[in-house]
């Protein structure tokens, strides 16, 4: 069975379906519904035998590169341009097919937002290269 990462982004990706405020400015009951949905996705994946893992990332990012011999690593400092892509977290799933991965990504994207309306958030679906060569 192929594995896929369903990536959520803080920013970047295609033009959003519709603009929305950051979550801390939603009504408390909308926040609650959204968080309940996230837990529900994990439970659903576990129950279907499709769950591998889920993680969230903090928004802080440091770019690092080798500084050369006898030199400290080079890191970026200061905030990065608002346009750069920033991953927020992911679900890792193990599913029958690409179609199933797309179906699940669309379900994740239906998460409730302000006024209980779906967010229509873009989900970045990436296949994980498998560990063993396929048999011919």
């Amino acid at each position: 069975m192929p594995k896929y990462l369903l990536l959520k982004h803080y920013r970047g990706g295609p033009e959003p379906h519709h603009p929305f405020q950051p979550m801390d400015q939603w009504a408390p009951e909308d926040v609650e519904a959204h968080m309940t949905f996230q837990r529900h996705v994990v439970e659903l994946l576990e129950e279907r035998g499709e769950y591998v893992g889920a993680e969230a990332l903090t928004p802080a990012r440091t770019w690092v590169r080798y500084g050369g011999p006898n030199a400290a690593p080079v890191t970026t400092d200061g905030p990065l341009p608002e346009t750069s892509d920033l991953v927020a977290g992911w679900f890792m799933i193990d599913v029958e097919s690409y179609e199933r991965a797309v179906e699940l990504a669309a379900y994740v994207s239906s998460e409730p937002g302000p006024h209980g309306e779906p967010l229509y958030e873009w989900i970045d679906v990436r296949e994980v290269m498998s560990g063993a060569p396929s048999e011919d």
């Binding site: 801390d24 408390p28 926040v31 609650e32 968080m35 837990r39 903090t58 928004p59």
Partner: protein, 401 residues
Amino acid sequence: MTEESTGRLDEGALRALVPRVLAGLVRRGEDFGAAEDALQEALLEAVRVWPDHPPRDPGAWLSTVATRRLVDARRSDAARHRREEATYAEPAPSTAPAAVGDDALFLLFCCCHPELSPGSQVALTLRAVGGLTTREIADAFYVPEATMAQRISRAKRTVRGRRLDQPGDLAVVLRVLYLIYTAGHADRVDLAGKAIRLARQLTLTTEEPEALGLLALMLLNHARLPARFDSAGRIVTLDRQDRGLWDTGEIVEGVRVLQSALAAARPGRYQIEAAIAALHDDAASAEETDWPQILAWYDDLVALTDDPVRQDPSAVLGRAVAVGHVLGAAAGLRETDRLREVLGDRHRWHAVRGHLHELDSDLSAAAAAYADAGHRARNVAERDHLIRQAARARRLHVEKL
């Protein structure tokens, strides 16, 4: 699992023998890592043999079998290195007299060797003294079992050949136990409970008031655990907890342990933090919290360091909350200003300011501070809690307009 627990062999009792037997081997001059490996093999052997042939003295049996394994290991090493077998056939003579009661302390000093990183100290302590399997430790820290096995064996290599008959640094041991306590992911492995048991063992072997202080601190905080999360796993802050859910048994024990620590009149940070926890536990409702008394203890806490803002900023931040409740929210906020440079990027600093703004009835500022805290949180439960706090404060603000 059911079969094991109702079977003829009590695994818990078996694991409880580990510290005494291991300490005996190491005191006799055996290498710590090799002795630990040999004892693990002896435990496996015990699980296999004891149901049919229960030993008369289980500890002596384990010690004998582990010793045999050590001799076997030395023989094959010796063959590899073409050395004389006879040199290694008997363990080196004991370098320190064995005092059975001190075994746990002695092993803790081994596991908390100052050359080990905190992560390795924690792993080795849980395995050698706590009796957890490598699998259980790996689960507790969400890493693959192979990764944890490697961390433990690297740690054992680091302490190999080090003299372990010197008294260790008790402060390091206490810090490691507190690390284990605070890492407690109750849903998988009960590390907090394990840390409490280890601290209790430790207090049987040392009179050091800070060891008692640490045990008291753990008990007094752990008592509130049943009220700290609701049924959906959401964080419930101290002021909103159902105090009827607190574990009164742990509170009583914690207060008793704290009193015996304070009786020595040698205060330290764990005793002071325990005293603060005791005052929270003692309040029948959030409104009845004795904030002036708490502030007095915080004054003692920040007095322990020369430059508390730099050396102990979390104490200064905790004190700012107490100042807010005693002298008013504005005074508390002024206290947090001193920490802006040191803690301004940490979620706790913003969360405390959110709380103080709310105390000051400035709900707009509170919502903004909670949101800033949420964006800096480093675990999902806290992030979600802070975003909820922001949304709640904003709603209250809008309703008041």
